[in-house]
Symmetry: C2
Subunit: 259 residues, 2 copies
DNA sequence: GGGTAACCTACTGTATACAGTATCGGGCTG
DNA sequence: CAGCCCGATACTGTATACAGTAGGTTACCC
């Protein structure tokens, strides 16, 4: 380790063994500096190392990550499309500053996509598809037992992504991924600031229940289970800390809390 | 129409920044070579100049477009996220080769998003939002009268995008945009190969009807109108020319044609 | 004659270098 | 003392240059 103060050099970041990575490519994916930089920067953002609204200076990052600016710029564009970074032309890039309205947009869309995925994917036609879900759940359980909160969040993310993948619609999965990442960003904003509303074990348990319902294959039951599982109430806690209310987001909050 | 023999140079609108232009550039996003290259390449793909599956060689494009490779590579990444280009690491990029399953994915997701947009956006709360719809419709009508098929397609695209925008959900609109672009790519594949199933005037008329229903504000009526308007039957014509059938797409086709 | 291996070509991936612009601070003027 | 203009600085946007790899072709060996 040479000089890693806040940012981690990406030469050693092959540790991110995600179940998704294996499913995406047939053979060993040749890593490119741009994708590695994107992975590293995404990790920095979601871990809370970089706060929403924080300025992203290219030269600083090239130094931290050990890559030159062209691949880093490519990485930035990738993260822009993931919704984690916004670019102001000629004025630099910042970590996406989430507003109440943003959270409203994310949750609304995410719920609709989840609904569609359940409609298309349940009951599951081949056990092959269930394997990624099961694996993510196993990782999640292990991480919960180990008390690793970051890993729990990451594997819960992978689990939900795998569930959406049951629909067999890559574009749907990709869109959902972007929204789920932005939700993680929202949670990262408030990490530590808010009390843990549930234990890690409880989190794992909740996901295990989802898996069982999915395996049972009753579409409506899955729908209900995911609706109960939904992060609406969860996010409603966070949202008050955010600026940028809008008529839509206000109405949305009222509806959520009316339940 | 065929203004470009091989490709259109984008250097014409290079760097002219008068103080007035500078003041206006705060309102209108200042053009960067990367976005200009993306626009040009997108136009080349959607116009049918480049066919799906066709290899994209960076050096050739830099010559045609008059930009250097770094911004061109950024443009390519943008188009990858729009779904118009796929990149094979170390092996170059190609125009997205659409399969039957791809079309199934696109249409399925697009319909769901349209449904959501109608739910959220109708009835329209402020006339301000209707203006982009009306303007696109005006352009569309003009283009139809002029017999400019490419312009009709482009403005119909803008109209639908403006309708989705009524929901006031930027992420929803952005996702829909990507899908609509890919549908345009699908249509570009078959342009000329298939007979024109409807006149341009008829196309404009269909969209005018949609606008009237939207202005009326009856959500269910809008839903029905858009369902009738849907491109399902339209695309079902195209899909036979494509490879890559999948169980899902086959079932989907059967369902569509059963109507 | 066919198969395999090595070389060659061309393209992608990456780095360094330069130019243009926005922002901030200081000085000048009203 | 306040407001505006001007200059300096730092950062983004872009181009040129180099290195590494994949794929094709040819030659040689079996």
């Amino acid at each position: 380790m040479s000089s890693m103060s806040t940012g981690s050099s990406i030469t050693s970041s092959a540790t991110q063994q995600s179940p998704i990575a294996g499913a995406m490519s047939k053979v060993v994916p040749p890593p490119s500096m741009a994708t590695l930089a994107a992975d590293a920067l995404r990790a920095m953002i979601l871990s809370g190392d970089m706060r929403p609204g924080e300025r992203i200076v290219e030269n600083q990052l090239t130094e931290q990550l050990g890559v030159s600016r062209p691949p880093l710029r490519e990485a930035l564009i990738m993260l822009v499309h993931e919704g984690l970074v916004v670019q102001h032309p000629r004025r630099g890039a910042v970590v996406t500053p989430l507003t109440q309205h943003d959270v409203y947009e994310i949750v609304t869309l995410r719920e609709e996509l989840e609904e569609l995925a359940i409609t298309l994917g349940i009951p599951v036609t081949s056990d092959e598809l269930l394997r990624p879900c099961q694996r993510a759940l196993d990782y999640l359980t292990t991480a919960a037992e180990a008390g690793d909160e970051a890993a729990v969040i990451g594997h819960a993310f992978a689990f939900h992504l795998a569930v959406i993948g049951l629909a067999g619609n890559r574009r749907l999965t990709e869109t959902y991924r972007s929204l789920a990442l932005q939700m993680q960003l929202c949670m990262a904003m408030n990490r530590g600031a808010t009390k843990d509303v549930e234990s890690l074990a409880g989190n794992a348990q909740r996901h295990r229940v989802l898996m069982e319902v999915i395996e049972a294959g009753d579409q409506d039951a899955v729908r209900r289970a995911f609706h109960r599982h939904g992060h609406q109430q969860f996010l409603a806690e966070y949202v008050d800390a955010l600026d940028g209310p809008s008529p839509q987001s206000q109405a949305w909050l009222q509806r959520i809390r009316g339940h």
